[in-house]
Assembly symmetry: C2
Homo-oligomer: 306 residues x 2
């Protein structure tokens, strides 16, 4: 039986191939990933950066890039602005970081003239397929917002909804996580979790079912919910979205699962006009390709639901 | 090949059987666990609580407790003080929570006359054996201290050392974790991680090697350390102890690993005169038995190293 993430990737092949614009593309790991993505029918690429260096990097890893468009811009900042504008103008469908500092990449994403800003906070979403689970899990935010405020958390939930929809999950169950499942005034994240739940109940936060605070076992293990007698809760081990209290909790859980479980995952930035792929040095080529597949799926969803 | 945790349990059988004193023992999960522990040669028990209820609970789960000593104390608070005094007086070797509120159990642990207080902060340690890893991992604190201060974190490291030693790990490598591996003044836990590292280098915190802040991949994956060029660090994917920034990060990682990976684990409270077993409702009988084995090992170590 194919796994849920593999089914997502299969869906991508059913529509016209999407195009990723890469900022400062002279990066071997990124060139390897876009090559793999093209070969699998997931996405094609426009490589923006120093053309000589791009060709030299591709040659150094014996990778054919003759079927990719190259836009020669030597200066890194200028390359990023050129690359993001291609997405803003609809020439490309999604935007990916190459060999430049994350902060410079983000400046291009947020640039008022050529960037992808929507007015919403940006946040990071990770789509997880854990072996043995029959459904996808969406994690936010494991990489971008250090200490989200209540407003940020509301935006994080709103930002994840187009992604769950693009992946075929409607009205997802969102679990604001903590170490405990009851509100404790000494633990601010439990208070905020309850507040998000209230907003959801009272119609200030729609398109999902929010129930928090929740401990991770109550969020993901139906048996734990039963064992703890949590049978009156909206989420009983069947959460779709895991909302983390801060970046440390999110990032440590993300890495714990990647390094100890059998996980297929893709990641993207959201809250933008088009999908933004911001992978890290420690991500494997598979994660980068999966992220491109996820971006393509979300781009198609956004095109059809504007 | 036997797994590291199984080797620990085998060691316990080499010395005289330890005795656990159970506070308010009329709890079916606890009775099941002490029965299993005795049958496996790990520990025997003194059951302190309402004798009639203890016998009724044991009968309801068809469990023979005729070989355990029962001390009949009807009142729960009084039962906890009687049970902890048995450990304080050396009649029993470790102390375990039964059917009473955690806060009342902790009051007995911290009681000045009959408790197990040492002057150190109490903290929680979890010993993990993850399938595929060749060594044990010690997690602190996933259940007890909500938001540890720098002083608490120093105590957490000092408290874990008798446990690593009891498990045969000398001069353990301690990784104060964060989402990132560089100090960021906007992330207090990274500043504290660097401060703990400095204390260790300058001899204020000894018996271990501290290197932080570390992201989880650098702490546990030698390949990630190599890939990120972190070859000058004291820890390069070979951490023994994972020190979490707060209870949310620790608890969520703990539960993520328990629910997605193949893990054998035991847990205990430390910073006390004798091992304290504080398991939670969601822990399986196996975790409770493993915790008793861990407690027996630490009790033996403390006896030989006073």
């Amino acid at each position: 039986m194919s796994r849920p993430f593999e089914e997502l990737v299969a869906k991508v092949k059913n529509f016209e191939m999407k195009k990723v614009s890469v900022a400062v593309a002279q990066d071997s790991a990124v060139i390897e990933a876009v090559r793999m993505a093209k070969d699998r029918g997931i996405a094609t690429a426009i490589l923006v950066g120093d053309e000589d260096k791009i060709k030299a990097v591709a040659a150094s890893i014996n990778t054919d890039i003759s079927d990719f468009e190259i836009v020669d811009v030597k200066d890194d900042i200028e390359a990023s602005l050129t690359a993001v504008k291609l997405v803003r103008d609809g020439v490309a469908d999604m935007y990916m970081k190459g060999l430049l500092q994350t902060k410079d990449f983000l400046k291009s994403v947020l640039n008022k003239e050529v960037g992808l800003r929507t007015g919403s906070a940006l946040s990071h979403v990770c789509v997880f397929d854990v072996k043995g689970w029959d459904h996808l899990m969406f994690l936010t935010d494991v990489a971008f917002i250090p200490y989200p405020t209540l407003e940020d958390k509301k935006a994080m939930i709103e930002n994840v909804l187009p992604i769950t929809s693009a992946c075929g999950v409607e009205n997802p169950k969102v679990a604001p996580l903590a170490a405990v499942e009851v509100v404790n005034p000494k633990m601010p994240c439990t208070v905020e979790a309850a507040e998000l739940t209230r907003m959801n109940k009272e119609g200030e936060l729609t398109g999902c079912i929010v129930d928090g605070p929740l401990s991770l076992d109550l969020a993901i293990e139906p048996e734990a919910a039963m064992h703890k007698g949590a049978t009156d809760r909206a989420i009983q081990g069947d959460a779709d979205v895991l909302l983390f209290p801060d970046i440390h909790a999110g990032n440590l859980v993300y890495k714990a699962m990647v390094h100890t479980a059998d996980v297929i995952n893709g990641n993207m930035l959201t809250g933008t006009k088009a999908p933004v792929i911001l992978t890290s040095r420690s991500d494997s080529a598979e994660v980068k390709v999966n992220s491109l597949a996820l971006g393509a799926l979300v781009a198609e969803y956004q095109k059809n639901n504007q």
